[in-house]
Symmetry: C2
């Protein structure tokens, strides 16, 4: 099928169909080159490969079918937007395109060069009309987690409806109180789209569905990383799976993750690993990877390492906490539970954010990792400045740590590969020395 079958739909929502087809073709080629050749992939990956082929085809048709039924379609750039409410209203909450270099030159006609590539890429997709998700959105839900986004919304609003959620940057009691009000306002905004009240029961149902999805991702995280000798799936496949979670139909996706996990459980039992036994196991910390930004994972896994976790918004930070709705009796209690869950997110936008460091150390130990890569998108001040305190803590714990700052240009791929290679060599050497010492 692919996007060919949905040309009329794409055109009707304002997509520049020709340019879009070209970009999708390139994306698909890149996917094939980077994913399909991996050895011994789980059979359940077939679904996620299929999703790639329908990413801006059938899935867009599904979203627009929802819209025709007056369900909300909400585009976001941040995991602070409470998707439980959108899902509760029967709609789709998805991440917008923002991982491609191909739209950045256009964005730079309105935005400065030296801001984060994710923001520029996303802005460029809107200017080019080459993201069918953006074009399908009733509105884009922005937030104030970073200042380049915060200010870029003002410009994006010239081209698409934008609503901004004010996320506080401290977590004192009064900040959390205000945050809860933002969640309530979001719900009212969604009611405006569906033109009817959203019941407590519907919202609870939304929470149950999103909890199920998060639980499935937690299960996958555990299967992928808990046995130091068996990595039943590649890190790159897991990254892609997580990325799909920001676009796919939530129930189908959850079922497919659980199917995959069943298969991975078998693999673990049978000792089937997609990497050799002593492959250095890395955690990646920092800023999100929006598709098709697979650069770092490709560099690591083509160079003799593997990625066992993304401590990232498109990763562990997204799925680590569920919402507890046990005993919730009214809307306010539900908002409080949502706020409680969302305020556990340890985004670098918060000050202080020391909990993140403790968490990283704990995750590292639990997963018996061999090192971490602190990854920041260029010009992301919050994660970039926070890297000082994180790497200081890594040094104290004796955790090998490599810091990589990168954008979406292909130019630094070679340099990243060289640095990753040297880092992996030093880890391998350390592992061998330890094994020798333990004899």
């Amino acid at each position: 099928m692919g996007i060919e079958a949905h040309k009329d739909l794409l055109s009707s929502i304002g997509v520049d169909v020709e340019r879009h087809a070209k970009m999708m073709g390139m994306g698909l080629e890149a996917y094939k080159a980077q994913f399909l050749g991996q050895p011994n992939r789980p059979k359940a990956m077939e679904y996620f490969d299929w999703f790639m082929s329908e990413i801006q085809g059938q899935r867009i048709a599904e979203i627009n079918q929802l819209r025709a039924e007056k369900k909300p379609a909400v585009g976001t750039f941040c995991i602070f937007v409470p998707e439980e409410i959108v899902v509760g209203a029967g709609g789709a909450c998805y991440g917008l395109c923002g991982g491609s270099n191909a739209t950045i030159a256009d964005a730079e006609t309105e935005l400065p060069r030296n801001i984060c590539p994710l923001i520029k890429s996303a802005h460029g997709f809107k200017l080019q009309r080459t993201c069918a998700y953006t074009q399908s959105s009733d509105f884009i839900y922005g937030e104030t987690t970073c200042e380049a986004k915060k200010k870029a919304w003002e410009i994006l609003a010239k081209h698409h409806p934008v609503h901004v959620m004010n996320i506080p940057h401290m977590k004192r009691e009064k900040d959390l109180k205000m945050w809860q009000e933002e969640i309530e306002e979001f719900k009212e905004h969604i009611e405006g789209v569906i033109e009817q009240p959203l019941s407590l029961e519907a919202m609870k149902e939304g929470v149950r569905k999103v909890n199920a999805k998060r639980s499935a991702l937690q299960r996958l995280d555990k299967l992928r990383s808990s046995n130091p000798d068996i990595m039943p799936i590649s890190g790159k496949d897991c990254l892609w799976i997580t990325q799909v979670g920001f676009m796919d139909d939530i129930e189908r996706y959850t079922a497919k993750i659980n199917e995959l996990c069943d298969e991975l459980e078998e693999r673990v039992k049978e000792g089937v690993s997609v990497f050799p036994k002593d492959t250095p196991r890395l955690m990646v910390l920092g800023t999100p990877f929006a598709p098709p930004n697979w650069k770092l994972h490709t560099a690591v896994e083509n160079t003799g390492g593997c990625v066992i976790n993304e401590e990232s918004c498109i990763g562990h930070r997204y799925f680590k906490d569920n919402v507890d709705i046990e005993g919730v009796q009214n809307d306010d209690e539900l908002y409080a539970r949502l706020m409680e869950r969302y305020s556990k997110i340890d985004c670098a936008c918060f000050t202080p954010n020391t909990g993140r460091i403790d968490k990283i150390v704990q995750m590292y130990k639990e997963r018996q990792a061999d090192g971490v890569i602190y990854y920041t998108l260029s010009f992301c001040h919050t994660y970039n400045v926070e890297s000082h305190l994180v790497t200081e803590a890594m040094a104290k714990e004796g955790i090998p740590c490599l810091v990589i700052e990168s954008d979406y240009s292909p130019e630094d791929a070679g340099q990243i590969k060289t640095r990753v290679e040297a880092f992996l060599e030093s880890i391998s050497f350390k592992k061998k020395a330890q094994a020798f010492a333990n004899k």
Copy 2:
């Protein structure tokens, strides 16, 4: 006198005396070279020249005398810190060093390269112990107006006491309510330093003093810019005067500004201008100039133009509004009035911030300016992104506009000069063409 006479004091507050003396010597040379040769300076500039020689000498002694009397000494980097309360407590509220390239390499041992030079410079001054203001501070009062600062406080706190004020990024009723609470908390913090309650009357007295200072600066702004044929003082001198206002004793400073204004009033009456009649008159918009960052003003005024206003935090944004305390009966009412005044500041950290654009256009017309330079420090996302909407508005109004992004390195001085020169030429050409058309 100079800093020599205060060596023991400087040493006692932890200043690296030798390095400090070298840096101050260089600063003084730069000041002499850039300021003293200007033609026909007002006589009252003598005081501000003297201040430069005592900037880290006598003034530091005065601040430490206050501290000995248990008055607060508060270092800041932002005009959102309510100095009225510090002044009301008999203390000194001052801007910390942050305008020099000489400390940046040290700062980059803890901070990323690609954040704003002001933050890096300030951080480096602390690491080097070469700013006697920083060393004299009971604490540094940080705020959350920009994310690089917000995160850098966490690192600076390893080296100096830091307290952070949470400035909201929207101006809805609930944001302002929270802001008011921050002001109250600030007052309580100051009470902690002075170890006694701060009375309403004392705070009101603080407001009166700061209002008087702002009124004096408003008077200067008017004298400098309201007559298109007579510029009685250079833009560079005015910039320096404003910079001094962030360090000097408030009452002495206010008196000296008013003395200067008396002299300038005479000059205007007598038609004494420091620039030739048709000199292009520019407004500078954007980020602050911390001393010794005089690069842009030097480029403009050495190239045949003059600067008639800084729409900047070290400039008009700082002094444009007074606090109305008419009828205030209790502390809460005072906080509300302070909040009301501070929330008029149109920092680019706010979203939306359209009021800033309307104000710029109005200022431009009132002052009969000939063009604007939108100046941003490198990597200042908020002012940098906001420049798109501002320059769009300038274009709509037919206002000539040049955008300059710069840091503290001397390397782009030549390039800036060339761009400013070309800009001034185009303005001069336009003025001549208009004069011809009006004949």
